[in-house]
Amino acid sequence: MSRRRFLIRRFIMLLCSLLVASFVIFGSLYVEAGSPLAALTGGRALPPSSIAVLDARYHLNESFIQQYWYWLSNALHGNLGISIEWRENVTTLMGNLTGTTVGLVAYAALIIVVLGIGLGILAALRPGLLDTSTLVVTAITAALPSFVAAMVLVTVFAVELHWFPALGNGTGLGSDIQHLTMPAIALAVSSLAIVARVTRAAVREEAGKEHVQTAISRGIPMRLILRRHILRNAAIPITTITGITIASLIAIDAVVETAFSLNGLGAFLVKAAEDKDLAVVQGISLVLVTAFVVVNMIVDILYAVLDPRVSLGTTAQ
């Protein structure tokens, strides 16, 4: 399989994933017994004029497939419907919240890449106390759920030490970074541990290979060996695990935003689910799933770039 065919195939898969995901999200209107109208209003009593608006917007008297098509093409044009709770365009509501979520996930991803990979390489190359303590600490933090990490961080760094504000969004860039630091750490902590462990194992394995040992015995500087021979090969599993964990941050984001009372997409999604505000739930789910799928595709493509065997069709063991 040539690289181009691999890319095309991967892109088609992305489209299929998005189509199925959007179908599930739209279909949620119909899952529960009763009319989609009841699902959209979430059991609220509305005046007839509002119901007429909903009827017209969702084309409720046409066939299911046609309704789906209208909904999807509207969504592609950035029109995700109207929130029944806030009487406002879902897109408008989401616009103000996206910044927080993107900032939080990007901040956490940065922490994972820098600290996780760095710690992994360091632990792999320096056997002894650092290595052992990294292994023990990461075994515990890998099992640390984000919301428990959040509570511990607030207890220690906000209530006891007053280093960071406990809750809420910041005002302006500097205060934003300050407000997002603890949430980003809470979001990153378990992924960071997993990435560090995988990195350590991968680097350890590559460092023990014969060509690396030969290079060491020939007196080639360790810095060069690390860059040219160890990291090149170890990069494949490291990229995969880093990508997968960063993609999974998009789902956990809702938990962390709620724990820290941040105004982001995730917290708003949870609020909307509680209020049975289905248009908002659909809109945010669609955006988050799209982000998740796209990040996963980027990881797969990176994987193919790093390991030519993947796109050449032979299975990498």
Binding site: C16, S28, V148, T155, I250, L269, V270, D277, V289, N296
Partner: protein, 295 residues
């Protein structure tokens, strides 16, 4: 099977179950000290999950707001929560709802996952290709998001969340087990059984699945940990188990006020329960996995 063999089969049944027990202990010993400690934690958690409501010394739901956030005293080893209820009692009683959900998720997703893995490995060809492609597409929905969507439609609760989570776990399970099933399918004994005229379903159910059992058990153990974190997160968000019912996820969220007021004990105690049990399941699962794949 002749009648004599049948009778002997029945009489050895008891001895057989003892042998299974002995073998499980032998396996446990091989998982090392960390594995044994983890197994002990899992055993205690299971015991508490079954008998917790009877072990709880105080009423778990009756509030007494005058005693909100009072520290440990007298018979209240872990103090009182934001509504003046005994924290230890709520932890003991809450083990049930905290562990039943993950159990359901593991059973459902493993049932579906094993069925899909064995079917794809057995049929291969077009069936394999189409099911695997379908699972890759299903991979697109992160568990927590699907659970939130489900609770928005069906209303908050453990049932909707658990089913949604089970579905989103199926691709992971099927992917891991499909490889093992394919390897088993290629074994000479399977070909021998086919030559003898055994039917496909019978070979799969009576030979391939039992031979994959060590891997399936290891996978179940690891997944229990994931499911526990995800379901606790959903209850923490207020979309799973509903307060005032005792549950570890619920307790973390309802006592967050205490954290901000400088009294984190009730909140962190519930968090510690989740972390402890999850770590135990993770370590045990990893050890079992190593043993299952080493063979």
């Amino acid at each position: 099977m002749t009648a004599i063999a049948l009778r002997r089969h029945r009489s050895t049944k008891l001895r057989h179950s003892f042998a299974v027990l002995r073998r499980s202990f032998a396996l446990l010993r091989q998982t090392g000290p960390a594995g044994i400690v983890s197994a002990a934690v899992v055993a205690v958690a299971t015991f508490v999950a079954i008998f917790g409501p009877w072990l709880a010394p105080y009423n778990t739901e009756l509030p007494d707001t005058q005693l909100a956030f009072v520290g440990p005293f007298g018979g209240h080893l872990l103090g009182l929560d934001f509504e003046g209820r005994d924290v230890l009692s709520r932890l003991l009683a809450g083990a049930q709802s905290s562990m039943v959900g993950p159990l359901a998720v593991v059973v459902i997703s493993l049932g579906l996952g094993v069925a899909l893995a064995v079917t794809t490995a057995w049929r291969r060809g077009f069936t394999d290709a189409s099911i695997s492609a379908g699972l890759d597409i299903l991979f697109a929905f992160p568990g927590i998001l699907l659970a939130v969507l489900a609770t928005a439609v069906f209303g908050p609760g453990l049932v909707a969340a658990s089913i949604a989570l089970s579905i989103s776990y199926v691709p992971y399970v099927a992917r891991v087990l499909r490889g093992a099933a394919l390897k088993e399918r290629g074994q000479p004994y399977v070909a021998a059984l086919e030559v003898q005229g055994a039917s496909g379903p019978s070979i799969c159910l009576r030979h391939i699945v039992p031979n994959m059992m060590p891997l399936i058990v290891a996978q179940a153990t690891i997944m229990f940990g994931w499911a526990m974190v995800d379901l606790a997160a959903i209850s923490f968000l207020g979309l799973g188990v509903q307060a005032p019912a005792p549950n570890w996820g619920v307790m973390i969220s309802e006592n967050e006020v205490g954290v901000l007021q400088g009294y984190p004990l009730p909140c962190l105690a519930a968090g510690a329960c989740v972390v402890l049990v999850v770590i135990a399941f993770n370590i045990l699962g990893e050890r079992l996995f190593e043993r299952a794949t080493a063979r």
